[in-house]
């Protein structure tokens, strides 16, 4: 009961996806859940198996985005016709043509060799989020601990009148409900849209490869914010993997530019800094977010004019700012 080494999945898995050997001795007697996949650190899982599991988790995550969306989505999904109904109506080919063929072609385009990319030169910058265009707000979502049921922070994302965006709200570190999976409260995060690839899986970010810095034109209030690039690998262990870096602001009405090299982003999993550090690969990034880092009670406001990527070849200090130590064996990351 106190020793949880394996994760048990209750849903039955198709026969062709079951691993080759479940356990050495008396599988019927030992295996508490026959015909079910039991996962542990040593269970032999192939990459397609892992990808399938991630896909199963991810479609639910994609469809049921937030709790408010989930109920409406569930209601809507009940109206969907089942496969047998579609076949009886004679629409199977039509379903394939309309649903699966575009997905497959999207997937094929993703898999295509990506060496034919536009070359960028020194001091070239590409604006990825231009907030002078008011449609950009629709790509961003805001979540606070109020949404999770943990605290009482409020936040909103509002266009200011002069071509920028205001991320403002009030943070309170009071814990309202301790019956959740969070141990602290007092956070507010703005998420960008998630990059969708084929089959409801996250895609790879191909346009960012030649860039070395991220540039933000901001007007802050002296608080510490955090920029994160979410890189959920196609694996159930790394769904919350991200590369983050602190965004320091000075207060005041003057605009400041934060230029942060990709080499200074450290790897983060579930909000805790990982032990194994690797340089950030922009290819694996699917989503970007900015969050308030210090849980200081009080209102906060961050005004962002523009987010762009810069290629700066004069950054010669390092390829990666943190040491990439290998860990001794049996090192767990439990804090």
């Amino acid at each position: 009961m106190y020793f949880r080494s394996s994760l048990r999945i209750i849903t039955p898995i198709r026969y062709y996806l079951q691993p080759y050997a479940t356990s050495r001795s008396y599988s019927i007697l030992n295996n508490p859940y026959p015909n079910c996949q039991s996962l542990s650190a040593s269970s032999p899982l192939s990459q397609p198996c892992r990808t399938f599991m991630f896909w199963r988790a991810n479609i639910n995550r994609e469809l049921y985005g937030s709790p408010t969306k989930a109920l409406a989505t569930k209601k809507r999904r009940r109206l969907q016709k089942s496969m047998t109904q579609i076949i009886r109506e004679g629409n199977l080919l039509r379903l394939f043509k309309e649903l699966f063929v575009p997905e497959i072609s999207k997937w094929w385009k993703q898999v295509q060799p990506w060496d034919r990319r536009h070359e960028f030169f020194h001091n070239d910058y590409l604006v990825i989020h231009d907030f002078s265009n008011n449609d950009e707000i629709k790509k961003w979502t805001v979540r606070t601990d109020l949404d999770e049921g943990v605290g009482e922070s409020t936040a909103e994302l509002v266009p200011s009148g002069h071509g920028s965006i205001l991320f403002r709200g009030n943070i309170s570190s009071k814990m309202v409900n301790q019956n959740t999976l969070y141990n602290k409260s007092g956070f507010a995060i703005m998420f960008s849209e998630r990059l969708l690839g084929s089959f409801l899986m996250p895609a790879h970010q191909k346009g960012w490869t030649y860039f070395t810095h991220i540039l933000l034109r901001i007007r802050g209030d002296g608080r510490f914010y955090e920029i994160r690039f979410h890189t959920p690998d196609h694996d159930h262990h790394h769904w919350s993997d991200m590369y983050s870096m602190v965004l320091y602001t000075r207060g005041g009405p003057y605009w400041s530019t934060a230029k942060i090299p990709f080499a200074q982003f450290f790897r983060n999993n579930m909000g805790r800094i990982s032990d194994k550090q690797h340089p950030f690969q922009p290819l694996t990034c699917t989503q970007m977010s900015i969050s308030v880092l210090d849980a200081a009670d009080g209102p906060f406001e961050l005004e962002i004019g523009e987010i762009s990527l810069l290629r700066d070849l004069r950054y010669n200090y390092d390829k990666f700012a943190y040491e990439q130590y290998t860990l001794p064996p049996y090192t767990t990351t439990y804090n």
Binding site: A72, R76, K81, N134, E156, H162, Y254, F300
Partner: protein
């Protein structure tokens, strides 16, 4: 009594992870911090409404449900009559008293949790020595791991978690990590245990982030609001314009008596000023007013200050200059001209204080938000730095009540515009068009 034991036995026989895949909140489960305090007088709560159903009466007899993840703790000893003043020495004394009373360290985990919660009352949360004293409460020996298996299996979970909580409290308070703490943790839990590892991570990562701030704040902030205000103004303006001077009204030598000037010590005024801003004022048109906007918030770590801005509207020349600048292609070298040729004009770019939403003429932080102090600020500016200011009309756009500011968060002034209202997700999803592989909606009460 048996009722409580029965539930734990029942749980231990079943396999937990499968059945507890969802956390159901029970009516008696603690929902917030207040529910954890066992020492409150519960009599006043139950006197008004006598419990009518059986469940509630049983709950009142047994007490709130204590899940195996959390513990109950009593904080009585921190409130005892022997403590005359709640300071650091008193805190250390309470810990010593516990050690003397329970030389076997009975119930030390709950005691440490209680102490961690009571630290802010004693004002000791930023003090490394008190954390070390707390760590010394752990007995040396029994919780030391004998093999890596014990570490991986998380033996002594509560003790390890409590030590991790101490380390996490130190991290969140920003206390500088110390090798002494590592040695203590190693002796108590062994070299590979989780609290040791957690503190090792803290030791490793803290120096990496210490010097990353491009706008650094001193490690120990001064206590007086005035010094903090000066720091805040320096931080806001020194990197923008090197010639900024921060003026403190009380330190000015000439105080004319005919000004409505508060002489009390607790009200002070600090403002910034640059020669560039004086030049700006002289170029401004006299018929347009100048605005005082504020109070806006600045944070110095966790301390918040409010500042006011003296602002003027951007002029047409500024907008033209900006447009020309944007059209100008810096990479184009075909038309290079020299400024030394006859007939050449030098292009002077707009100064740092000229922004798109206004020209900033001065920043100020006030001790107490009185309108008289704002007038004092203007008078001082007029007298010493910008004599032209008297020719302008000054419009006060300050929001002096804090309540108004918090109300603004959910009422955007753009609520009425249809293009910016993003309707709620449920409505959007319900009204999204349904493709042919959906059944028709059976709800007939919706009118199409």
């Amino acid at each position: 009594m048996l009722f409580r034991l029965q539930s734990t036995l029942f749980l231990s026989l079943r396999r937990l992870p499968t059945l507890q895949s969802r956390i159901y909140a029970s009516s008696t489960a603690p929902r917030s911090d207040e529910d954890w305090e066992q020492d409150q007088n519960r009599k006043d709560k139950f006197d008004d409404n006598p419990p009518e159903n059986e469940e509630a009466s049983i709950a009142s007899m047994i007490g709130p449900y204590i899940s195996s993840k959390q513990m109950a703790f009593h904080t009585d000893q921190f409130d005892s009559a022997h403590i005359r003043q709640k300071n650091k020495q008193a805190f250390l004394d309470v810990i010593e008293a516990y050690k003397v009373q329970f030389p076997n360290r009975r119930g030390h985990v709950e005691f440490i949790r209680a102490a961690l919660r009571r630290m802010p009352d004693f004002g000791v949360e930023r003090d490394a020595e008190s954390y070390k004293k707390l760590l010394s409460v752990f007995p040396f020996g029994p919780y030391r791991h004998q093999s890596m298996l014990q570490v991986s299996v998380r033996f002594w979970p509560k003790q390890n978690e409590t030590a991790s909580a101490i380390v996490s409290a130190m991290e969140s308070q920003g206390i500088a990590p110390d090798l002494e703490v590592v040695h203590m943790l190693r002796e108590i839990f062994g070299p590979w245990a989780h609290p040791v590892r957690r503190f090792a991570r803290f030791l490793y990562w803290a120096p990496k982030f210490m010097n990353k701030n491009p706008y650094p704040i001193p490690w120990e902030l001064p206590d007086s609001e005035r010094a903090l205000a000066k720091l805040a103004l320096q931080r806001m303006t020194s990197t923008v314009d090197m010639e900024t001077k921060i003026v403190d009204i009380h330190s000015a030598s000439d105080n004319s008596p005919d000004v409505d000037h508060p002489v009390e010590e607790h009200s002070w005024l600090l403002y910034t000023h640059t020669p560039k801003q004086t030049k700006l004022v002289s170029t401004l048109a006299k018929d347009r007013p100048i605005y005082i906007e504020g109070p806006f918030a600045v944070y110095l770590r966790k301390k918040q200050m409010k500042y006011f801005v003296l602002k003027a509207d951007p002029t047409e020349e500024y907008r033209k200059k900006k447009q020309e600048l944007e059209k100008f292609n810096t990479d184009d070298v075909s038309n290079l001209r020299s400024p030394f040729q006859p007939g050449a004009t030098l292009y002077i770019p707009p100064s740092v204080h000229e922004l798109d939403d206004g020209f900033i003429l001065s920043l100020c932080i006030i001790g107490k938000p009185y309108t008289s102090l704002i007038n004092c600020w203007l008078y001082h500016l007029r007298k010493h730095h910008m004599p032209n200011l008297s020719q302008f009309a000054v419009v006060d756009k300050t929001k002096l009540t804090d309540a108004k500011q918090t109300d603004r968060f959910y009422t955007s002034h753009l609520v009425g515009t249809p293009e910016f209202t993003i309707p709620h997700d449920t409505k959007r999803i319900a009204e999204a068009p349904k493709p042919w592989w959906f059944n028709d909606d059976p709800d007939d009460d919706k009118t199409k």
